[in-house]
Symmetry: C2
Subunit: 247 residues, 2 copies
Amino acid sequence: MPTPPYRQIAAELRHRITTGELAPGDRVPSENAIVSEYGVAAETARKALGVLAAEGLTEARRGSGTRVRAFRPILRRGTKRLAQSGWGEGRSIWEFDLDGRPLRADRVTVEPDAPSPAHVAVALGLAVGDPVCIRDRRYLVDDEPVMLATSYLPTALVVGSPITQPDTGPGGTYARLAELGCAPVHFREVVRSRMPLPEEAEALALGVGTPVVLIVRYAYAAEGLPVEVNEMVLDASRYLMEWEFPA
Amino acid sequence: MPTPPYRQIAAELRHRITTGELAPGDRVPSENAIVSEYGVAAETARKALGVLAAEGLTEARRGSGTRVRAFRPILRRGTKRLAQSGWGEGRSIWEFDLDGRPLRADRVTVEPDAPSPAHVAVALGLAVGDPVCIRDRRYLVDDEPVMLATSYLPTALVVGSPITQPDTGPGGTYARLAELGCAPVHFREVVRSRMPLPEEAEALALGVGTPVVLIVRYAYAAEGLPVEVNEMVLDASRYLMEWEFPA
DNA sequence: TAGTGGTCTAGACCACGAA
DNA sequence: TCGTGGTCTAGACCACTAA
């Protein structure tokens, strides 16, 4: 079982990328170039390039060409409050953009009184179908979509507050929850990663070979009362996530 | 620009998977079945199935068939110490196996006195090339590989201790660091996700369409002294990660 | 308009698994 | 042995981009 040609070609090109011979933005050999250089059929050349694309290393554009992709993430700090200096903050093995640029919200929809899905009801301590307020939006940085988010809050808790409006006002949802006497005091974030569904790929304008990171944040008020479930879908090629905690 | 046939076929099959009509473990229509059912060429049928595989929804095995994949993660608690009851622990929108099964180490190698790579040197507050102890291993659950890990510790700190041996003894590296007067008191974890490199896919026996999660853990002793950098590579289809923190 | 990537076909041969 | 997925070819047509 020798390595098939398309994998050998992919390996050669990958080597040129990982060693930096082909830098981000550089054009990778075209299908035609591979056909003539390696003496293979067009479909075989395509398949070789397809391997790199599926690995997230390259991005093809019809009419233009195939280019090496860059990883230019923004930093998401999970535990902002603990991030005092002294812990080598900012020192990472990866380069990242400072999170100075604002997240702009987009496609904001609010359903103040929707039946709770089963998995949300359990997390919020409700019965399945109990009313919840569902806040849906997309976040953009430099007009490029980077994250989708869907929040669920008990309708019984937030009815009548700006939380049921598209604009929650200064300080956002958590400030309003505090005014309602339910300020979050504890957070739990559960994270996984997978390849995107077509809708997610479309909404985030993901290139092929780009996974998404799913973060589900559970916010608790005093006495362990759950007040919010926030399901986030992040473009994995745009995010670096950080959590800090004591031993 | 109508949707090409192979995408339409993929969408139909995907729908049957996401609705549960095709459950994890079930066989998906074979290439031949798709050819005769949709009246397309074999390569087109292959491409349709390839879409689902790239999305991580299915897994093909030569001679056998293509089956729907399952997501059976194990839970990794980042902040174990904070995990007191009352915060709805264990209540997640995803099912997961309890982390009662032990992680077994595999392919353990130790280099007690290696030159530090640039990115590690910066994080550890060393000069590039200063000696570090590099501990490399693979972790398995039920004899299946789930994570790769590479630790870097300053050689000047750990020379002569069991940390430079394959077996670090009871309590592991952190217990030994404590005995050296450098007990970690603070952790920082930086996370990203991407598609695996071929070596990673091989070492973790990853199916196509399976991303990896990269966690870099920085451990600090008192006064912010960095004592360890641990680069982990997790099979995204086997892990759920959790972090908890106060507001 | 020339070059690029995207889709599709019809046919071939191979490697592997299960019956 | 037969059905499965994996690879490859030679050729065709299309859609898009840039010069």
